[in-house]
């Protein structure tokens, strides 16, 4: 048995060495959960461009997971050259707690270092049997909502804030009413997954719940992967402007001497070529022309975190920190 595994080990090691020796430069991009398909396409395009520009063979390694969890891993020593996370607060943590980058990282690239944006929509079963059209419909009696855990998932925090912003900003709304609405909403959630992709498979593959509150890109991907005949995407009347930022992790990039390629990689995300890839993967590109050429990414009023919550630091401290509003309103198991 052991000789057998030793033989196998040898064979595989030889194979792996053959694959590895072709690569001259490697980058590690630590990203959040739903960007798997996006960065697969981006990496292929950028590696080809980098090859013609410099002659180097570039391999971009990927790690995906809940945004908060990924930030924690980078702080704990996961050697990311660049991070592309779901929200600014998580990259702030890498700067503040991990001291791995400059606190002013978000000013280094255009548009708050977010080359693409997204928003939060609803995914319902085909034909929309519960007639869900807006946020207010979600708390009808009997509806089960699937959404990930805001403590670990970036998408879940955007979803929570979108619901809150709707209730606070609607005519006659207030912070107190928003709190009551969001508390009621989470009573309809039977289980919280740790990441966006986990809740999509819970809803889509395991058939749990009547509505999934998710990233717009994740909703379209569910249609692409699991069948357009199974689900409908519902755009509420308002939602939130989700800005997932990108940044070079200074200390790691300097240690690996990859700063130049890491910066070029993030710059590339703003190029026409990359913006088109982003739109095709159902992210909202910053380029207005390309965005307009993808009418499926519907126009709707979007609140920003700054205007409703006074920025991510404040939103995080008020709502998601230990003992924050979310801890007060959410009781596991619902009801």
């Amino acid at each position: 048995m052991r000789t057998l595994s030793a033989c196998l080990l040898g064979a595989v090691a030889v194979l792996a060495a053959g694959v590895a020796s072709a690569a001259d430069v490697t980058l590690l991009n630590v990203s959040y959960d739903p960007t798997r398909e996006l960065y697969k396409a981006i990496n292929t395009a950028f590696s080809a461009q980098w090859k013609t520009k410099t002659g180097d063979n570039l391999t971009v390694n990927m790690s995906h997971g809940g945004s908060g969890k990924q930030a924690r891993a980078v702080i704990d020593g996961l050697d990311a050259d660049v991070v592309t996370l779901a929200l600014a607060y998580d990259i702030d943590s890498i700067a503040k707690i991990g001291h791995l980058m400059d606190a002013g990282w978000q000013k280094r690239l255009p548009d708050n270092s977010t080359p693409y944006t997204s928003t939060i929509v609803f995914l319902v079963r085909k034909g929309n049997p519960w007639k869900i059209h807006d946020w207010s419909d979600l708390i009808k009696p009997g509806i089960q909502i699937v959404v990930p855990n805001p403590k670990t998932s970036g998408g879940a925090r955007w979803a929570y804030l979108a619901a809150w912003a709707y209730a606070e900003k609607k005519p006659g709304g207030s912070a107190d009413k928003a709190k009551a609405y969001v508390a009621e909403l989470y009573k309809h959630v039977p289980v919280l997954d740790t990441g966006a992709r986990g809740s999509t498979t819970t809803f889509g593959e395991r058939g749990i719940g009547d509505v999934l509150i998710c990233w717009e890109n994740e909703a379209y991907l569910a249609l692409d992967e699991m069948g357009r005949d199974k689900f409908d995407i519902i755009y509420p009347t308002v939602s939130i402007l989700a800005e997932p930022p990108v940044a070079v992790v200074d200390k790691n990039a300097d240690k690996h001497k990859t700063r130049k390629v890491a910066e070029a990689y993030l710059q590339f995300l703003y190029s026409k070529e990359a913006q088109e890839i982003e739109a095709k993967n159902h992210y909202r590109p910053r380029d207005a022309q390309i965005l307009a050429s993808h009418p499926e990414l519907k126009k709707l009023p979007l609140y920003s975190v700054d205007e409703v919550f006074g920025g991510w630091q404040k939103a995080q401290a008020t709502h998601f920190a230990d003992g924050g509003v979310f801890d007060h309103i959410y009781k596991p198991g619902g009801k």
């Binding site: 080990l9 398909e37 390694n61 704990d76 020593g77």
Partner: protein, 292 residues
């Protein structure tokens, strides 16, 4: 006379305590088979059926894809290092515990059992707290460019932690049962320590040892929780087979996920087959050892 006959008729036929009624026996066997079919066989068949849904070539393609090969390699490295080290440790610990008397012996036994009672997530977090950047040794390690967590050493350490008790736990009862008479006899006849171990102890415990190694290997290859915490999930680099299966599943690549899962299940089945074959081939010898 009539009374006596009556009594004989009224009393049930006396029977041995172990001889069951044939109906009860059939019922028990059927229940066991039913549960085995429902909870073991059916899921196993599902895994293979899902993997082969789109044909053998699709399943094979998922296995020879570079990220999958890297995951297989990681799993074999982790098991290949953890299992031999656990054999050495298990032998040393059970030898010490069963053949010598010393202070803190029961404490040592409790410690060996620790990984069984601790959740694998904690087993992983321990290493993050020790070797992570925020941990005790993190900054020093970084300065000296040594990677432990989010790299192979961390995965091997986590695997070792969770598989720690397997060999020792198999051997301690066996060696305690056998006592130290044979070793003492060997020593008194002039055998050296090593000779005693090779000629007396090892032959006595080899079946228990083998069983411990097989269990240890199965767990080492299948471990998910602890490894997940220290892996960093870098595709094609630090994913083991169980982690790669999760990645594929979450990428909507269901057939590929089940193909790799089948490979992992096959590795486990190979382990079982080897064990069964050895037991069958050496049945007499095993029976002799068990008589001790």
């Amino acid at each position: 006379m009539t009374d006596a006959t009556m009594t004989e008729f009224a009393l049930p036929r006396p029977r041995a305590a172990t001889a069951d009624h044939p109906v009860a026996r059939a019922l028990l066997t059927a229940t066991a088979m039913f549960f085995i079919a429902l909870f073991l066989l059916l899921p196993l068949i599902t895994v293979f059926a899902q993997a082969l849904k789109n044909g053998v070539s699709t399943a094979l393609a998922a296995i020879v894809e570079p990220d999958a090969l890297s995951a297989v390699k990681m799993t074999l490295i982790a098991a290949g290092i953890a299992v031999p080290l656990n054999v050495v440790f298990g032998l040393a610990a059970s030898w010490a515990i069963s053949k010598f008397d010393f202070r803190g012996k029961s404490f040592l036994i409790t410690l060996i059992d620790l990984p069984f009672s601790v959740s694998p997530v904690i087993s992983g977090l321990v290493y993050v707290l020790l070797f992570g950047m925020m941990g005790w040794f993190g900054p020093w390690l970084r300065e000296h460019d040594i990677k432990i967590i989010f790299a192979i050493p961390g995965i091997v350490l986590a695997t070792m932690f969770v598989t720690f008790p397997f060999v020792a736990r198999e051997l301690i009862p066996l060696m305690s049962d056998q006592g130290r008479d044979e070793e003492e006899a060997a020593t008194s006849l002039g055998a050296s320590g090593l000779q005693t171990f090779r000629r007396v102890t090892l032959p006595n415990i080899k079946w228990g040892l083998l069983y411990g190694v097989l269990l240890c290997n199965a767990r080492a290859m299948g471990e998910f929780g602890a490894v997940s915490v220290v892996s960093g999930h870098i595709r094609g680099q630090t994913n083991t087979m169980p982690l790669h299966i999760e990645v594929l599943y979450n990428d909507y690549q269901f057939v590929a996920a089940f193909a790799v899962a089948s490979l992992l299940a096959l590795l486990a089945l190979v382990t079982l087959t080897v064990k069964t074959f050895l037991e069958w081939h050496y049945a007499d010898e095993i029976a002799a050892v068990h008589k001790h």
